[in-house]
Protein backbone atom coordinates (compact mmCIF):
# COMPACT_ATOMS: atom_id res chain seq x y z
CA UNK A 1 0.00 0.00 0.00
CA UNK A 2 1.36 3.43 -0.87
CA UNK A 3 2.21 5.98 1.77
CA UNK A 4 -0.79 8.20 1.05
CA UNK A 5 -3.25 5.36 1.68
CA UNK A 6 -1.68 4.66 5.06
CA UNK A 7 -1.92 8.33 5.95
CA UNK A 8 -5.53 8.54 4.82
CA UNK A 9 -6.66 5.46 6.74
CA UNK A 10 -4.73 6.64 9.78
CA UNK A 11 -6.40 10.03 9.66
CA UNK A 12 -9.83 8.48 9.31
CA UNK A 13 -9.21 6.49 12.49
CA UNK A 14 -7.63 9.40 14.35
CA UNK A 15 -10.10 12.25 13.93
CA UNK A 16 -12.35 11.30 16.86
CA UNK A 17 -9.28 11.27 19.10
CA UNK A 18 -8.49 14.79 17.92
CA UNK A 19 -12.02 15.91 18.87
CA UNK A 20 -11.52 14.42 22.31
CA UNK A 21 -8.07 15.95 22.75
CA UNK A 22 -9.05 19.40 21.63
CA UNK A 23 -11.04 20.52 24.70
CA UNK A 24 -8.62 18.77 27.02
CA UNK A 25 -5.63 20.38 25.33
CA UNK A 26 -7.31 23.78 25.44
CA UNK A 27 -8.06 23.28 29.12
CA UNK A 28 -4.47 22.31 29.79
CA UNK A 29 -3.18 25.36 27.90
CA UNK A 30 -5.45 27.70 29.84
CA UNK A 31 -4.50 26.14 33.16
CA UNK A 32 -0.77 26.30 32.42
CA UNK A 33 -1.01 29.88 31.20
CA UNK A 34 -2.87 30.91 34.36
CA UNK A 35 -0.16 29.18 36.41
CA UNK A 36 2.42 31.40 34.70
CA UNK A 37 3.75 29.09 32.01
CA UNK A 38 4.84 30.68 28.73
CA UNK A 39 3.81 29.37 25.31
CA UNK A 40 7.27 27.87 24.83
CA UNK A 41 7.07 26.09 28.22
CA UNK A 42 3.70 24.62 27.26
CA UNK A 43 4.88 23.56 23.80
CA UNK A 44 8.01 22.00 25.24
CA UNK A 45 6.06 20.01 27.79
CA UNK A 46 3.49 18.78 25.24
CA UNK A 47 6.19 17.68 22.81
CA UNK A 48 8.49 15.99 25.30
CA UNK A 49 6.00 14.54 27.79
CA UNK A 50 2.85 14.05 25.64
CA UNK A 51 0.65 12.60 28.37
CA UNK A 52 -2.48 14.51 29.34
CA UNK A 53 -2.84 13.48 32.95
CA UNK A 54 0.89 13.77 33.71
CA UNK A 55 0.97 17.24 32.26
CA UNK A 56 -1.97 18.40 34.35
CA UNK A 57 -0.34 16.91 37.42
CA UNK A 58 3.00 18.44 36.46
CA UNK A 59 1.57 21.94 36.20
CA UNK A 60 -0.44 21.57 39.40
CA UNK A 61 2.54 20.25 41.34
CA UNK A 62 4.98 22.80 39.92
CA UNK A 63 2.74 25.71 40.84
CA UNK A 64 2.23 24.35 44.35
CA UNK A 65 6.01 24.21 44.73
CA UNK A 66 6.49 20.44 44.82
CA UNK A 67 10.00 18.99 44.60
CA UNK A 68 11.09 17.98 41.08
CA UNK A 69 11.82 14.42 42.22
CA UNK A 70 8.27 13.93 43.49
CA UNK A 71 6.88 15.37 40.25
CA UNK A 72 8.94 12.92 38.20
CA UNK A 73 7.98 10.02 40.46
CA UNK A 74 4.28 10.86 40.21
CA UNK A 75 4.58 11.12 36.43
CA UNK A 76 6.17 7.70 36.38
CA UNK A 77 3.38 6.19 38.51
CA UNK A 78 0.65 7.74 36.37
CA UNK A 79 2.25 6.42 33.19
CA UNK A 80 2.81 2.88 34.35
CA UNK A 81 -0.48 1.88 32.73
CA UNK A 82 1.17 2.46 29.35
CA UNK A 83 3.50 -0.39 30.21
CA UNK A 84 0.49 -2.68 30.02
CA UNK A 85 -0.81 -1.08 26.83
CA UNK A 86 2.52 -1.38 25.04
CA UNK A 87 2.71 -5.02 26.12
CA UNK A 88 -0.66 -5.67 24.45
CA UNK A 89 0.33 -3.78 21.31
CA UNK A 90 3.58 -5.74 21.05
CA UNK A 91 1.60 -8.83 20.03
CA UNK A 92 0.55 -7.05 16.84
CA UNK A 93 3.90 -5.48 16.10
CA UNK A 94 5.77 -8.73 16.17
CA UNK A 95 9.01 -8.47 14.25
CA UNK A 96 8.71 -4.74 13.53
CA UNK A 97 11.97 -2.84 13.19
CA UNK A 98 13.54 -1.39 16.30
CA UNK A 99 13.59 2.11 14.86
CA UNK A 100 9.90 1.88 14.01
CA UNK A 101 9.14 0.62 17.51
CA UNK A 102 11.00 3.50 19.10
CA UNK A 103 9.09 6.02 17.00
CA UNK A 104 5.79 4.25 17.62
CA UNK A 105 6.26 4.05 21.39
CA UNK A 106 6.35 7.84 21.66
CA UNK A 107 2.71 8.04 20.59
CA UNK A 108 1.19 5.33 22.77
CA UNK A 109 -1.61 6.97 24.76
CA UNK A 110 -4.87 5.66 26.25
CA UNK A 111 -6.76 6.81 23.16
CA UNK A 112 -4.39 5.84 20.36
CA UNK A 113 -3.88 2.49 22.07
CA UNK A 114 -7.60 1.74 22.20
CA UNK A 115 -8.23 2.81 18.61
CA UNK A 116 -5.26 0.85 17.26
CA UNK A 117 -6.14 -2.27 19.26
CA UNK A 118 -9.63 -2.37 17.71
CA UNK A 119 -8.22 -1.95 14.21
CA UNK A 120 -5.45 -4.49 14.70
CA UNK A 121 -7.93 -7.02 16.01
CA UNK A 122 -10.42 -6.51 13.21
CA UNK A 123 -7.59 -6.23 10.67
CA UNK A 124 -6.08 -5.61 8.25
CA UNK A 125 -4.31 -2.74 10.00
CA UNK A 126 -0.81 -1.88 8.94
CA UNK A 127 1.75 -0.71 11.52
CA UNK A 128 2.19 2.45 9.47
CA UNK A 129 -1.51 3.21 9.78
CA UNK A 130 -1.20 2.77 13.52
CA UNK A 131 1.82 5.05 13.52
CA UNK A 132 -0.19 7.69 11.64
CA UNK A 133 -2.91 7.52 14.30
CA UNK A 134 -0.32 8.06 17.04
CA UNK A 135 1.30 11.03 15.40
CA UNK A 136 -1.84 12.79 14.23
CA UNK A 137 -3.23 12.52 17.74
CA UNK A 138 0.09 13.81 19.03
CA UNK A 139 -0.06 16.78 16.68
CA UNK A 140 -3.64 17.59 17.69
CA UNK A 141 -2.63 17.49 21.36
CA UNK A 142 0.38 19.78 20.93
CA UNK A 143 -1.56 22.24 18.77
CA UNK A 144 -4.54 22.40 21.15
CA UNK A 145 -2.39 22.96 24.25
CA UNK A 146 -0.57 25.83 22.54
CA UNK A 147 -3.88 27.25 21.34
CA UNK A 148 -5.22 26.99 24.89
CA UNK A 149 -2.19 28.80 26.25
CA UNK A 150 -2.64 31.50 23.64
CA UNK A 151 -6.33 32.30 23.55
CA UNK A 152 -8.34 29.70 25.45
CA UNK A 153 -9.57 32.23 27.97
CA UNK A 154 -11.98 33.51 25.33
CA UNK A 155 -13.84 30.20 25.29
CA UNK A 156 -16.31 30.05 28.18
CA UNK A 157 -15.94 26.97 30.37
CA UNK A 158 -18.43 24.19 29.73
CA UNK A 159 -19.74 25.37 26.37
CA UNK A 160 -21.08 22.72 23.99
CA UNK A 161 -20.47 19.97 26.51
CA UNK A 162 -16.72 19.94 25.86
CA UNK A 163 -16.22 18.79 29.45
CA UNK A 164 -17.81 15.53 28.46
CA UNK A 165 -15.79 14.77 25.33
CA UNK A 166 -13.21 12.64 27.10
CA UNK A 167 -15.76 10.70 29.15
CA UNK A 168 -17.75 9.92 26.00
CA UNK A 169 -14.58 8.84 24.23
CA UNK A 170 -13.58 6.41 26.99
CA UNK A 171 -17.13 5.03 27.13
CA UNK A 172 -17.08 4.28 23.43
CA UNK A 173 -13.60 2.76 23.57
CA UNK A 174 -14.84 0.51 26.36
CA UNK A 175 -17.90 -0.47 24.32
CA UNK A 176 -15.58 -1.57 21.49
CA UNK A 177 -13.79 -3.92 23.87
CA UNK A 178 -16.85 -5.86 25.03
CA UNK A 179 -16.60 -8.70 22.55
CA UNK A 180 -17.76 -11.55 24.75
CA UNK A 181 -18.59 -12.78 28.20
CA UNK A 182 -15.04 -12.87 29.53
CA UNK A 183 -14.47 -9.26 28.47
CA UNK A 184 -17.68 -8.12 30.11
CA UNK A 185 -16.76 -9.95 33.30
CA UNK A 186 -13.25 -8.48 33.31
CA UNK A 187 -14.70 -5.01 32.72
CA UNK A 188 -17.08 -5.22 35.67
CA UNK A 189 -14.44 -6.59 38.05
CA UNK A 190 -11.75 -4.10 36.99
CA UNK A 191 -14.09 -1.13 37.08
CA UNK A 192 -15.40 -1.98 40.52
CA UNK A 193 -11.92 -2.66 41.88
CA UNK A 194 -10.49 0.53 40.39
CA UNK A 195 -13.30 2.58 41.94
CA UNK A 196 -12.83 1.00 45.35
CA UNK A 197 -9.07 1.53 45.22
CA UNK A 198 -9.58 5.13 44.06
CA UNK A 199 -11.77 5.73 47.12
CA UNK A 200 -9.42 4.10 49.61
CA UNK A 201 -5.93 4.85 48.34
CA UNK A 202 -4.86 8.40 47.53
CA UNK A 203 -2.90 9.03 44.34
CA UNK A 204 -3.26 7.61 40.86
CA UNK A 205 -2.37 3.96 41.32
CA UNK A 206 -6.00 2.86 41.00
CA UNK A 207 -5.99 2.44 37.21
CA UNK A 208 -2.93 0.20 37.19
CA UNK A 209 -3.96 -1.75 40.30
CA UNK A 210 -7.61 -2.13 39.22
CA UNK A 211 -6.76 -3.33 35.73
CA UNK A 212 -4.00 -5.75 36.79
CA UNK A 213 -6.22 -7.36 39.41
CA UNK A 214 -9.29 -7.30 37.16
CA UNK A 215 -7.54 -8.81 34.14
CA UNK A 216 -6.00 -11.52 36.29
CA UNK A 217 -9.36 -12.34 37.88
CA UNK A 218 -11.06 -12.41 34.46
CA UNK A 219 -8.28 -14.60 33.10
CA UNK A 220 -8.51 -17.04 36.02
CA UNK A 221 -12.31 -17.26 35.75
CA UNK A 222 -12.20 -17.82 31.98
CA UNK A 223 -9.60 -20.58 32.43
CA UNK A 224 -11.65 -22.15 35.19
CA UNK A 225 -14.82 -22.12 33.07
CA UNK A 226 -12.96 -23.64 30.16
CA UNK A 227 -11.50 -26.44 32.27
CA UNK A 228 -14.90 -27.22 33.71
CA UNK A 229 -16.47 -27.34 30.27
CA UNK A 230 -13.74 -29.62 28.98
CA UNK A 231 -14.04 -32.05 31.88
CA UNK A 232 -17.81 -32.15 31.42
CA UNK A 233 -17.48 -32.97 27.75
CA UNK A 234 -15.67 -36.09 28.81
CA UNK A 235 -18.22 -37.16 31.43
Amino acid sequence: MPFMTFAKEGMRAAWPICIGYFPLGLAFGILAQKAGFGLLDIALMSVVVFAGSSQFIGVAMLSSGAAPTSIVLTTFMVNLRHFLMSSSLAVYLHGAGRRFISLFAYGVTDESFAVNMVRFREGPWHPYEALTVNHIANFAWIASTILGGYGGQFIPAGSFGIDYALSAMFLCLLAFQLRGRRYLLTAVISGALASIIALMVPGNSFVVAGSLLGATAGFALARYAERKRRSCARC
Binding site: L80, A168, Q177, T186
Partner: protein, 109 residues
Protein backbone atom coordinates in the same frame (compact mmCIF):
# COMPACT_ATOMS: atom_id res chain seq x y z
CA UNK B 1 12.08 31.61 28.11
CA UNK B 2 12.23 28.20 29.83
CA UNK B 3 15.13 28.06 32.28
CA UNK B 4 17.58 25.18 32.74
CA UNK B 5 15.74 23.72 35.75
CA UNK B 6 12.50 23.56 33.81
CA UNK B 7 14.14 21.93 30.81
CA UNK B 8 15.76 19.36 33.09
CA UNK B 9 12.43 18.60 34.77
CA UNK B 10 10.65 18.25 31.42
CA UNK B 11 13.39 15.94 30.17
CA UNK B 12 13.02 13.73 33.25
CA UNK B 13 9.22 13.71 32.94
CA UNK B 14 9.56 12.86 29.26
CA UNK B 15 11.89 9.98 30.06
CA UNK B 16 9.61 8.38 32.66
CA UNK B 17 6.71 8.78 30.22
CA UNK B 18 8.58 7.28 27.30
CA UNK B 19 10.20 4.31 29.01
CA UNK B 20 6.98 2.49 30.05
CA UNK B 21 5.67 2.99 26.50
CA UNK B 22 8.85 1.85 24.82
CA UNK B 23 10.25 -0.98 26.94
CA UNK B 24 7.55 -3.67 26.39
CA UNK B 25 7.24 -2.85 22.70
CA UNK B 26 10.98 -3.00 22.20
CA UNK B 27 11.49 -6.33 23.91
CA UNK B 28 8.18 -8.16 23.55
CA UNK B 29 7.80 -7.48 19.82
CA UNK B 30 10.99 -9.44 19.09
CA UNK B 31 9.99 -12.77 20.58
CA UNK B 32 7.14 -15.23 20.56
CA UNK B 33 5.09 -14.89 23.74
CA UNK B 34 3.62 -17.86 25.64
CA UNK B 35 -0.06 -18.39 24.85
CA UNK B 36 -1.32 -17.90 28.44
CA UNK B 37 0.47 -14.55 28.53
CA UNK B 38 -1.13 -13.47 25.24
CA UNK B 39 -4.50 -14.57 26.59
CA UNK B 40 -3.95 -12.48 29.75
CA UNK B 41 -2.70 -9.48 27.75
CA UNK B 42 -5.84 -9.76 25.65
CA UNK B 43 -7.89 -8.81 28.73
CA UNK B 44 -5.69 -5.83 29.65
CA UNK B 45 -7.32 -3.30 27.26
CA UNK B 46 -10.84 -3.89 28.53
CA UNK B 47 -9.54 -3.85 32.12
CA UNK B 48 -7.76 -0.53 31.68
CA UNK B 49 -10.63 1.17 29.87
CA UNK B 50 -13.15 -0.06 32.39
CA UNK B 51 -10.97 1.17 35.28
CA UNK B 52 -10.77 4.57 33.61
CA UNK B 53 -14.51 4.72 32.85
CA UNK B 54 -15.79 3.56 36.25
CA UNK B 55 -13.52 5.85 38.23
CA UNK B 56 -14.30 8.73 35.88
CA UNK B 57 -18.06 8.30 36.18
CA UNK B 58 -18.61 7.24 39.77
CA UNK B 59 -15.72 8.57 41.83
CA UNK B 60 -15.79 12.34 41.90
CA UNK B 61 -14.72 15.39 43.86
CA UNK B 62 -11.82 16.24 46.12
CA UNK B 63 -11.62 14.47 48.53
CA UNK B 64 -12.84 11.63 46.32
CA UNK B 65 -16.19 10.07 47.07
CA UNK B 66 -18.61 7.65 45.45
CA UNK B 67 -21.54 9.20 43.60
CA UNK B 68 -23.43 6.72 41.46
CA UNK B 69 -26.26 8.91 40.22
CA UNK B 70 -25.31 12.30 38.88
CA UNK B 71 -25.32 14.10 35.53
CA UNK B 72 -22.11 12.51 34.29
CA UNK B 73 -23.12 8.92 34.98
CA UNK B 74 -26.73 9.36 33.81
CA UNK B 75 -25.65 10.82 30.47
CA UNK B 76 -23.26 7.87 30.21
CA UNK B 77 -26.20 5.47 29.72
CA UNK B 78 -27.50 6.86 26.39
CA UNK B 79 -23.91 7.62 25.31
CA UNK B 80 -22.94 4.01 25.91
CA UNK B 81 -25.99 2.76 23.98
CA UNK B 82 -25.10 5.04 21.08
CA UNK B 83 -21.56 3.64 21.16
CA UNK B 84 -22.85 0.06 21.00
CA UNK B 85 -25.33 0.92 18.29
CA UNK B 86 -23.27 3.14 15.95
CA UNK B 87 -19.85 1.60 16.66
CA UNK B 88 -18.47 5.01 15.79
CA UNK B 89 -16.11 6.90 18.07
CA UNK B 90 -16.79 10.20 16.34
CA UNK B 91 -20.57 10.01 16.61
CA UNK B 92 -20.40 8.84 20.19
CA UNK B 93 -18.16 11.73 21.25
CA UNK B 94 -20.33 14.28 19.47
CA UNK B 95 -23.65 12.92 20.75
CA UNK B 96 -22.23 12.48 24.26
CA UNK B 97 -21.17 16.12 24.30
CA UNK B 98 -24.57 17.26 23.01
CA UNK B 99 -26.47 15.11 25.52
CA UNK B 100 -24.37 16.43 28.38
CA UNK B 101 -24.77 20.00 27.22
CA UNK B 102 -28.55 19.66 26.91
CA UNK B 103 -28.83 17.80 30.22
CA UNK B 104 -26.87 20.51 32.01
CA UNK B 105 -29.08 23.27 30.59
CA UNK B 106 -32.32 21.55 31.49
CA UNK B 107 -31.65 19.85 34.76
CA UNK B 108 -29.19 21.94 36.71
CA UNK B 109 -31.17 24.93 37.86
Amino acid sequence: MPDADYILLIAAMGLVTYIPRWLPLYFLSQRKLPSWFVEWLDLIPVAILSSLVFSDLFVIGNPRHLDILQMKSIVAVPTFLIALRTKSLGWTVISGMMLFWVAERFFSG
